[in-house]
C-alpha cells in the first residue's frame, strides 16, 4: 500500500471527523447526507460558552480532573513504589492489585459505586443504618465523583511509574550510596528525580483521561446535578431538537483544553526522558522499609477492596436480589431473597446475547485490523525514508488529544456525509474504535518495532529474500510479544469503550457497554448489574484467551 493511500485512509479516519466538528461549530446546520453544513457560517454557536451552564461544566471538569488525577497518582505511585522497589511481602499480589482495576470498565465501576453508596438505598448506607449510624454515604457528590474516577484511573499511574522504577539502573543509586548518601537522601536526590518524567507524564495523561471521561460523569455526576463538559455535550445532542452546532462549539473548547494538556505531556516526556535503561540485564535494588511493610500491604488491600471486591459484591447482590427494592440489609438474608433467576434471565435474553456478540465482534475486528494498521504505520515511520512519514505519525497520534465523545460526534457526521452504506451497521463502530485507539496501537507497535534491530531484517534481504518475506520471517516473529500485547490492549480498550459509540449505535448494533448504560438510564438496575457481571466475565475470558496466545497484559499501555 503506497504512502498516499495510507494518508488518505488516515484523512477519512481522523482528519475528516475533526474537520466536521470544527465546521459545525462555526455553522448554523450540522452535516447530513449531501451536505457538510458549510452554509451559514456564524459565531452564534459560541454564545453558549458564556452561559452559566458552560462555565459551571468547564469549572467542574477542571476541578474533577485535577483532584482525580492527584488522588489517582497518589494511589498508583504508592503501589508502584511498593511493588517495584521495596521488600514488601507478596510483590506479585501488589502488582496484580495495581493493574486489576483496568479490567473493570469505569462504566461498571460507576454503576457498582452508585449501588454501594447511593444516598438512600446504597448497600453501605443500609449497613450503617443497620448499626444505627444513619446514612453516611452519598456518592452523587463532587468528592464521590472524584473518588470513583481516581479508583479506576490509578492503574495508569501504576503502570507508568512501575515501568520507570523497574527499568532504573541500580548503578545510579549505588553510586549515590558509595558517595555517602543515606537511604532518604538517595530517594530524594536520585530515585524520585529520575522517575519525575514518568510521574509528570502519567499525571497529565490521567488529567486528560478523567477530563474526557463520560460514563462516570454521567452515572455519578448527573444524579448529583454535577455537569462536566462531556455530559454537557451529550445533553445538548440528546435534547429535542438536537443542538449539534452548540455541542460542536463545546466540543471545540474541550478539545482545545485537552490538546494543550497533551502537548505539555508530550513535551515533558520528550524533554526529560532520562535514559535509565541500559542493555545489560539488571535488577533494581530493593529497599528495606521495615515496619512500613504492614502499612503498605494494608493500603494495597484497602485499594483492592474499594476498586474490585466491594463493587463486585454490590453487582452480585444487585443481580441476585429478588425484590428490586431493599430497605435494610436483613432483607437480603431472608428466604428466597437471593436467586440466580435474574442472572439466568439476562444470560438468555436476546438483548444480552446480541450485545455480547456485537461487542466481541467489534473488539476482535478492532484489535486485529487496528494492530495491522498500526504495524504498517510504524513500519513506514521507523523503517522507511518515505517523505511525509512524520506527518503520518502526527495524524495517527491526533486522537489522543481528542475526547472520545467528540470523536464519536465527528465520526457520526463523517459517515452520514460519506456515500458509503456504513452508518447504522456494526462497521461504523469498528471504524470509530480503530480511529480513536490508533494512538495506543501505534505506540505499542512502534515501541516494539524499535526493539528489533533493523540489521536483522536487512540481512535477510541481502541473503536473497524479498522485503515482505524478510518482514514475515524475521521482524514479525521477533515482535511477537509486542504485537500480541498491542492486540490485547486494543481488544480491552474496544471492549470497554462507551463514549465513542454513544452517537453511532442503533438498536441493531448495541454493545454490552451500551446495554449497561441504557439499563441504568432507564432505572433497570438489576438488569444493569447482571449484564455488568457477565460483561466482566466476557472481558476476562478474552484476556485469558489472548494471553494464551502470548500477549502480555501490560505492554505499552496507553502512554
Amino acid at each position: 500500500m503506497p504512502t498516499w493511500l495510507m494518508l488518505a485512509l488516515l484523512a477519512i479516519l481522523i482528519l475528516m471527523p475533526v474537520a466536521l466538528i470544527l465546521i459545525s461549530a462555526f455553522s448554523s446546520s450540522t452535516p447530513r447526507p449531501g451536505s457538510i453544513g458549510l452554509s451559514g457560517l456564524t459565531l452564534e454557536n459560541f454564545k453558549i460558552l458564556s452561559s452559566h451552564q458552560s462555565v459551571t461544566a468547564l469549572t467542574n471538569s477542571l476541578v474533577v480532573a485535577t483532584s482525580a488525577s492527584v488522588l489517582a497518582m497518589f494511589i498508583g505511585g504508592t503501589l508502584a513504589f511498593l511493588a517495584a522497589r521495596t521488600n514488601i511481602w507478596g510483590k506479585a499480589v501488589i502488582y496484580f492489585i495495581g493493574i486489576a482495576p483496568m479490567f473493570l470498565p469505569s462504566l461498571v465501576g460507576a454503576l457498582a459505586w452508585s449501588l454501594l453508596a447511593g444516598p438512600a438505598t446504597g448497600y453501605l448506607n443500609l449497613l450503617t443504618r443497620g448499626i444505627g449510624l444513619g446514612n453516611l454515604f452519598n456518592v452523587y457528590t463532587m468528592p464521590g465523583l472524584i473518588f470513583v474516577l481516581a479508583l479506576y484511573y490509578a492503574p495508569y499511574a501504576f503502570l507508568l511509574i512501575h515501568g520507570a522504577m523497574t527499568l532504573m539502573n541500580p548503578d545510579l543509586e549505588e553510586a549515590a550510596s558509595v558517595h555517602g548518601g543515606s537511604l532518604g537522601k538517595i530517594l530524594s536526590t536520585v530515585t524520585f528525580p529520575l522517575v519525575t518524567p514518568a510521574i509528570l507524564g502519567s499525571g497529565v495523561l490521567i488529567f486528560a483521561l478523567t477530563m474526557e471521561n463520560f460514563p462516570v460523569a454521567q452515572m455519578i455526576g448527573t444524579p448529583g446535578q454535577i455537569e462536566t463538559l462531556p455530559t454537557f455535550i451529550y445533553r445538548l445532542m440528546n435534547s429535542a431538537p438536537a443542538r449539534g452546532n452548540e455541542a460542536a462549539a463545546v466540543a471545540v473548547v474541550l478539545t482545545v483544553v485537552l490538546i494543550a494538556v497533551t502537548a505539555i505531556q508530550q513535551r515533558m516526556v520528550m524533554k526529560r526522558n532520562f535514559t535509565t535503561v541500559s542493555g545489560k540485564g539488571m535488577k533494581p535494588r530493593m529497599m528495606d522499609i521495615g515496619k512500613l511493610r504492614g502499612v503498605g500491604l494494608s493500603f494495597a488491600l484497602g485499594y483492592f477492596a474499594l476498586a474490585i471486591v466491594l463493587p463486585v459484591v454490590a453487582l452480585l447482590l444487585a443481580s441476585l436480589q429478588s425484590s428490586p427494592y431493599v430497605s435494610n440489609l436483613g432483607q437480603l438474608f431472608g428466604e428466597d431473597a437471593l436467586s440466580f433467576w435474574s442472572l439466568f434471565q439476562t444470560l438468555q435474553s436476546a438483548a444480552f446475547l446480541d450485545a455480547a456478540r456485537n461487542s466481541v465482534m467489534v473488539a476482535v475486528c478492532v484489535a486485529v485490523l487496528g494492530a495491522a494498521l498500526a504495524f504498517y504505520l510504524s513500519y513506514i515511520v521507523y523503517r522507511t525514508k518515505t517523505p511525509g512519514r512524520k506527518s503520518l505519525e502526527f495524524v495517527a497520534m491526533l486522537p489522543l488529544a481528542i475526547p472520545a465523545i467528540v470523536m464519536g460526534l465527528g465520526l457520526l457526521w463523517t459517515w452520514l456525509v460519506l456515500p458509503l452504506p456504513v452508518y447504522g451497521t456494526i462497521v461504523v463502530l469498528i471504524i470509530a474504535f480503530i480511529a480513536i485507539y490508533l494512538p495506543q496501537g501505534y505506540r505499542g507497535m512502534s515501541a516494539s518495532i524499535l526493539q528489533v534491530d533493523k540489521d536483522l531484517e536487512d540481512s535477510a534481504v541481502l541473503l536473497g529474500s524479498t522485503r515482505a518475506r524478510a518482514v514475515s520471517y524475521v521482524t514479525l516473529p521477533l515482535m511477537k510479544t509486542g504485537v500480541m500485547s498491542t492486540v490485547l490492549l486494543l481488544l480491552m480498550l474496544a471492549m470497554r469503550e462507551l463514549s465513542a459509540a454513544l452517537f453511532l449505535f442503533t438498536s441493531n448494533t448495541r454493545l454490552l457497554a451500551i446495554v449497561v448504560f441504557d439499563n441504568y438510564d432507564n432505572g433497570a438496575l438489576r438488569s444493569a448489574a447482571s449484564t455488568s457481571l457477565l460483561y466482566i466475565l466476557v472481558i476476562l475470558a478474552l484476556v485469558v484467551l489472548a494471553k494464551a496466545f502470548g500477549a502480555r497484559a501490560t505492554n505499552g499501555e496507553a502512554r
Partner: protein
Amino acid sequence: MKVTLENIDLKYGDTYAVKGVNAEIEDGHSLVLLGKSGCGKTSTMRCIAGLETPVRGRITIGDQVVFDSEKNINVPSHKRNVGMVFQSYAVWPHRTIFENVAFPLQMKNLGKKEITERVDEALQLVGLDGFQKRGASLLSGGQMQRVALARSLVMRPSVLLLDEPLSNLDARLRDRLRIELRALQQKLNLTCVYVTHDQGEALALADRIALMQNGKLAQVGSPGEIYENPASASIADFLGVTNIFPVLTNGHPGTYKMAEHRLELTTVDDTPDGDAIKACIRPEDVIVSAQRPAADSNNWAGEVSVASYQGSNVRYLIELDGGPAIEALVSRRDGPPAGKGNRVWVTASPSDIQILPAEVA
C-alpha cells in the same frame, strides 16, 4: 568478483554522507574502508549492499551494473548476491543455527539435500560443525560472528561485506579471528570489503586500504604505502603517530623551526607547499639515551615525566627543554628503563621525520 564504485554521492537530508568516492576492488582482493566514526565508511559499504541509495554514481559487481543514477538502474538488495556480516551480526535469535545458515539457500529454492550439504560445509569452514540444532540466542559473541560469516559464505557471494567484524569481541579472540578471516579470504579467493576504525585490523586484513575522511577518500594504497607514507598529518595521527608538531620553514632546506618553541629539527623530507605543515615522528622511531648521542642533528635534552612499563617495551613521555613533550616507545632490550624525573637525551634520525600538510587538500 571485481567491484567498481564510480563517483558515488550519498546524501542524508541536505548533508553529504559520501562524496565523490571512486574505488576498485580486484577479484579475490580485499579492500578495507578505514576511518573515524561518521566518516562515511559504513555508508559507502551500505551503498554496495543496496541498503542506501546514492544520489549519483555507478556501482558495478562483476559484469553487472547494480546501480547507475544516470540510467536509473537500482538492483534491489536481494538480487545483488552480496553477502554482509553486520556489526551486530544480525543472527536471528528466534531461529536455530541451521535455519540461520540455510536461509539464503532456501531463498534460492534449492533442494533439501543440497541445502543440508552446503550448510554443513559452511559451518565446517567456520569451525561450528555440530552446532546445527542449537538456538542462536545461546551463542557467544565469537560464535555469533562465525554464524553470520557462514550464513554469508553459504550463498557464495559475489562480494562479501564485513562491517566492523571484530569490534564486539575481546582482544585475544580478535587477534585470532583476524588471522582466520584473512586466511579464509585468501583460501576462498573472496572479494571482500571491510569497514573498520581500527588501524591494526585494517593493516592485517587489507590488500588495499581506502582511508576516508568527511565522506571522501583521503588516501588509497597498500597497507605498507599507507603506513609508511601517510598523505597528511591527520592521517598519520589516525595511524598511531603520536608526535605531531606544527613547524615553520626557516629558509634553509631540510631544517624547520618548531612553532612556539626554540628547537629546530632536520629532515630529508621534501618541503610540501602550504602554511599548515607538521612534523610527524613515530614513537618507536624516537631514540632515548642517557648520554649525549653522537648524531649531529635532532639532539634534544629533556626530562622523563611519565614512564609506563608495557611488558615488551616502555612508553615514555619526555618534556624537552624549551620544547614540546615527545612520546617514545623503547624496547626492553635497550637496557633498564629510565624513571620519572631522570634527565635523558632524545634523538630521531632525519629520515624518520616526515613533514606533512595538516590535511589532504
